[in-house]
Symmetry: C2
Subunit: 339 residues, 2 copies
């Protein structure tokens, strides 16, 4: 920073060498007591703080953790960031943010790994083909995957029981008499969308629910995508579904908005279920039944794993999978989930 | 990072000193050509990249910009972050994020300034009493205030025409026949809330609108706060307002949700206007008339000012104030704004 005091300034003002300043600040032996008090007095007067770069050179730790997130305008990611900030703070760690969908994204994360700008990486948008994931693993950089996971990769991973929970959502529809169902999915590169789609589709087939391929549409995890998907289901020229599962809340909100615009009554004529339980799902405008991802708990475990990995780089990787519960609201008429 | 190649490794493998490695990589004169090619061959083979800390020691630049935001679960801030990421990327700058409302917040920003972990600070939650603002100014650290500003402070600032636009919102209500109006405000420490409240209140008085003190409530910029504020207006035991101005969109969404829960028809029985024009304001669930803050433009100018400040620390500070337009939607019956 302009005007900041450097160790050179301290050395000049104390009339000693920079090496002496450094030795005083490190508590090295062999410094004359008079010299030591003169240096410390100057440090006190000037408010000198050792440069972060100097600390980092010395300790080989940056005190900074990188996080790669999806588009931050998807409310799921701010909730992850909120939880991550709260978990990192007691450890005195800072957070560098990269948005994987805009700007430099993964490229910046790779550069940060190579230049040792970060002590570790929290990765929330991993896919099997993520360059930053491969790079971190090749370089043996501490990394933890949260939410999206890549089976078989030798790194720590935390997700929730996406496939099982999606199966339970299909059963929930069947239990309450629905016959024609629809699904708003997203890129199968994302383990979350793949597992939720597979679970719902398989269970729907097992239970004899009708899931027409014209009622399975990609909503791109977005509000506009979810809205367009439901509009296309309603315009498909066949009987529309009476219950729709959206693989994340944001596309579920889009589906609710499409229903609202088309004059379709939720829940009387259509049930909608999302996934995540973002804060907005409980707002009066949506009252969306959804699968609650335990975001604070997932993030807490991820930070624990990352710190353990930084401390012990060769520890065998683990994969934590947390349970999800279905939170019932107005979008499914508050109908109970059977055990 | 564990396993990463250091300049010490390069020196050892090339059979030279670390100082020689450094001189080769800086293109210093006086290195024997044979030595130079041996060092470069080792650099090539090992994939060595100079440590960020070493680069930072040398250049006294970190390539990192800090940003202090309000709670990231308020959708205004993700839109700021989104725009900021897009602006910083072409300059090769990284973004360190601090949430002023949870975790270390401003304290971390102060520490980063002192330890020169960042080249500059983008501050979106400044108040007259912000410790980080005072600290940055005292230390002559490059800082730019965006959205919230503090009059009279010697630093670059960017905001929009909050007071004028709030005046126009009061006129808009009067032009369409409203007599009893309400306001959902927020902490007057925030320049945004203060200017919007003042503009609306003054113009309402000038126009003879009735703004009962029981219809002026603090919504804390939050959804739950906006919802509780409208509930209290409806329960105040006096005739409720027919038009309410919320000083940000999020508290406006809360007001719309309170109306929905109470069976108050918007816009027939109640108009609601927000401020910001976040993406969600245009969603079918809300269709909120609101003042559009030109977020991408505000952020673009802020980054320009910050880069200019880093390059020329003593340049006189400037204050950019951008216009806001009122975007008309269903929550005010699409009634036009008069010129």
């Amino acid at each position: 920073m302009a005007g900041a005091i450097t160790s050179r300034d301290v050395a000049r003002l104390a009339g000693v060498s920079q090496a002496t300043v450094s030795r005083v600040l490190h508590g090295s032996a062999g410094i004359a007591p008079e010299t030591r008090s003169r240096v410390l007095a100057v440090v006190e007067q000037t408010g000198y703080q050792p440069n972060a770069a100097a600390i980092s050179m010395r300790t080989r730790r940056t005190g900074t953790v990188g996080v790669v997130v999806g588009r931050v305008t998807n409310p799921f990611y701010p909730q992850v960031l909120d939880a991550l900030g709260a978990e990192l703070e007691p450890h005195g760690l800072r957070l560098i943010l990269w948005d994987a969908t805009t700007g430099p994204g993964e490229r910046a994360a790779i550069e940060a790994i190579d230049q040792r700008r970060i002590d570790g990486l929290v990765f929330t948008t991993a896919t099997a083909s993520s360059p930053a994931l491969q790079h971190a693993i090749d370089r043996r950089a501490p990394i933890v995957l949260v939410n999206r996971v890549v089976e078989g990769q030798p790194c720590d991973q935390v997700d929730s029981a996406n496939e099982d929970t999606a199966r339970r959502i299909a059963r929930y529809f069947a239990d309450h008499g629905h016959k024609r169902v629809g699904m708003i999915t997203a890129s199968a590169d994302a383990s979350t969308a793949a597992a939720r789609s597979t679970g719902f589709t398989d269970e729907a087939a097992d239970l004899g629910l009708h899931l027409d391929e014209r009622h399975v549409l990609d909503g791109g995890f977005s509000h506009e995508g979810g809205r367009a998907a439901l509009e296309r289901m309603l315009d498909a020229g066949i009987e529309p579904p009476t219950a729709v599962f959206a693989v994340n809340d944001l596309s579920g909100f889009g589906a609710l908005d499409a229903a609202r615009a088309a004059g379709i009554a939720v829940p009387d004529d259509l049930w909608v279920v999302g996934y995540d339980d973002t804060e907005m799902a409980s707002w009066e405008a949506f009252q969306l039944t959804t699968a609650r991802q335990p975001i604070p708990e997932m993030v807490r475990i991820a930070v624990e794993l990352l710190l353990a990995r930084i401390a012990a780089p060769t520890r065998p990787p683990v994969h934590h999978r947390l349970p999800s519960e279905i939170v019932v609201r107005h979008s499914t008429a508050h109908a109970p989930v059977r055990a």
